[in-house]
């Protein structure tokens, strides 16, 4: 889950960076960049953090 989250986070960056190459339309680029940011945030907050929270010290206290 953590590794998958990392890949998703990186994917978001690639989507945003590639936005400049896939379209010359400013609106399309803006949408692509925002989608990329959302994907990265989902990877961090939706996948990586929950995966590591399972091992958190307070779960075993």
């Amino acid at each position: 889950m953590g590794i998958a989250g990392l890949l998703v986070t990186l994917l978001g960056f690639l989507v945003a960076a590639a936005s400049v190459g896939v379209s010359s339309n400013l609106t399309m680029r803006m949408i692509a960049v925002l989608i990329g940011i959302a994907i990265s945030l989902a990877g961090i907050m939706g996948m990586i953090i929950p995966a590591f929270r399972k091992k958190a010290v307070w779960r075993n206290e």
Binding site: L10, F13, S24
Partner: protein
């Protein structure tokens, strides 16, 4: 014409110096039209004679005159070339001194960070927290001198305000979508390789080094009270050598983010005047990655996941540290012009005022938010609000007006409070000092705010990132600038986070990031450092642990 104007100005200055001792100067004549200057005029500028000079110069009217202009050939005497060269060197000297002194101010911010973080931690970890903040200066500097500076600035292609800095001219690029994407520089290893034993390069190095160290010291706050000291050393070294320099190259070193304007027509490319993204967001996002890996402190959360407040031990040094940081920020932002003379560098006044205003509104925003929400004007959050405002204004400080600066700071002050609650209660990432929110969240906000509030009035030498004209945000008509800024944000969240996460996972596997539970409960001062921060005090935690 420009040359003639310079010469006319030089002669006017020299004449003024020569006649400054006149008791009752005549009213200033209207400026004369620029006229060709002859060598005779230069040679006839008088200097105070020795009989006058030996009487001293109490009002300073005699000191600094034509006699102080360096002559290249004493047989020829003063020439036009000597005068012009002196003017050029004086301009670069002013810029050198400005950049160095502002760099010294930024260096002093390490002291501010050290006592803010230590004050927000418990007394049983005071020595450990201070030592991390103390040694991160040296560890980061070593890494940066070895390789980091070359990666960041090795291909910047010159810094006009500092006399050229021509040896930094080797950027490694790949071609994507038909354009060169600069990824890292290759000149400047050990500050000798690639012809970089150069006075201008040294000034650039000092200034950029203290910025890099600021990013590194952000991470120590989030991981405080449980970070194994050896892991801290390795992690900080890697960040100073690779993580920070890579992103800094892309933004400031002629990398692909800076060229989004020239290559793809997105405003002036990614614009981050003094480092909301490069310094603060890189530090804050690396802190988030490490905070996830290292986990919360023992006692921070109940078994059901409810957060407990773990208060710091000294609010006095916390707020003192905030003041030191606010002082240092006058080096951070105005110094980022790398000049006080030429290329629009007189903007430093505006930048300094923007900086102080945003810090003020940031402090107000956080204080009022906490007062309204919890009934008391929380001191530590007020301090964090000040810092959040300063972090947020760092990127836009060179591009916005004072109203924009106040709005940016005010939003930052409220945002830091909301972010601290979100990180603490929703993400359940333990951040003892709020570094993720102050530097990460507000670093990102600062980057975005350039794309919104840049008013198009700045003019740093006529262009920015090689694109003519002034940086202009969405509210002033350029939506492309906002897209460039958002690509920077996506890079910080997507790339910098991932890179930092992988690096710190590897360190966790090899060195181990976290101390043992016994050491954490006792406090890290003795187990990790061998000495208590406050040896004459009886600390509750140590009494409870029977130490």
């Amino acid at each position: 014409m420009t040359r003639i104007s310079y010469l006319a100005a030089a002669v006017a200055l020299l004449s003024a110096a020569a006649f400054a001792q006149t008791p009752a100067p005549a009213p200033a004549a209207p400026p004369a039209a620029a006229a060709p200057i002859t060598i005779d005029e230069i040679k006839n500028v008088s200097t105070p004679d020795n009989a006058t000079r030996i009487k001293g110069d109490p009002d300073g009217g005699l000191t600094g005159n034509v006699g102080d202009v360096v002559v290249s050939d004493s047989k020829k005497g003063l020439t036009l070339g000597d005068v012009v060269n002196q003017i050029g060197q004086n301009r670069i000297a002013v810029n050198f001194v400005w950049t160095l002194i502002t760099g010294f101010l930024v260096m002093f911010m390490q002291a501010g960070f050290a006592i803010v973080e230590t004050g927000l931690c418990r007394a049983k970890n005071a020595n450990h927290t201070m030592m991390m903040n103390f040694m991160v200066y040296g560890v980061g500097m070593l890494a940066y001198w070895l390789i980091g500076f070359a990666i960041q600035m090795g291909g910047v292609g010159g810094v006009a305000t500092l006399g050229g800095v021509n040896p930094l001219n080797d950027e490694w690029s790949i071609t994507l979508f038909g354009k060169a994407w600069g990824l890292f520089g290759r000149h400047g290893i050990f500050l000798t390789q690639g012809g970089t034993y150069d006075v201008g390069v040294m000034v650039v190095f000092l200034f950029q080094m203290v910025f890099m160290d600021t990013a590194l010291t952000i991470v120590t706050g989030t991981a405080a009270e449980r970070w194994k000291y050896a892991a801290f050393m390795v992690s900080s070294f890697v960040m100073g050598a690779f993580t920070y320099p890579l992103y800094a190259n892309w933004a400031w070193g002629n990398g692909w983010l800076a060229n989004l304007g020239g290559n793809y027509g997105l405003g002036h490319g990614y614009a981050d005047f003094a480092g909301s993204g490069v310094v603060h967001a890189v530090g804050g996002i690396t802190a988030l990655a490490l905070g996830i890996i290292i986990g919360p402190r023992i006692g921070k959360y109940t078994r059901s996941g409810k957060p407990n407040a773990i208060v710091g031990h000294d609010i006095v040094i916390v707020l003192t540290g905030c003041f030191i940081l606010a002082f240092g920020w006058f080096g951070f932002n105005p110094g980022s012009t790398l000049a006080a003379s030429g290329n629009g560098a007189l903007r430093i006044g505006s930048i300094a005022v923007n900086t102080m205003l945003a810090g003020m509104t940031g402090g107000f925003g956080a204080m009022l938010y906490m007062w309204l929400r919890y009934g008391k004007p929380d001191a530590s959050m007020s301090g964090n609000g000040l810092l959040a405002g300063l972090v947020a204004i760092t990127a836009p400080s060179g591009f916005v007006n004072t109203v924009g600066a106040c709005i940016i700071g005010l939003i930052a002050g409220v945002l830091v409070c909301i972010s601290v609650e979100f990180v603490d209660r929703v993400l359940k990432v333990d951040d003892p000092v709020g570094a993720i929110s102050v530097h990460g969240t507000n670093g990102l906000w600062g980057v975005i705010s350039v794309g919104l509030f840049a008013d198009g009035k700045s003019n740093f030498g006529g262009s920015w990132n090689g694109v003519n004209g002034s940086v202009t945000g969405l509210f002033y008509g350029d939506a492309g600038q906002l897209v460039a800024q958002l690509i920077g944000v996506a890079t910080l969240i997507g790339f910098v986070f991932s890179f930092s996460f992988i690096v710190n996972l590897a360190i966790d596997a090899v060195v181990g990031q976290r101390v043992g539970a016994k050491a954490e409960l006792e406090g890290l001062d003795l187990p990790e450092m061998g000495q208590l921060g406050y040896p004459e005090f009886e600390l509750k935690a140590r009494v409870a642990a029977g130490a």
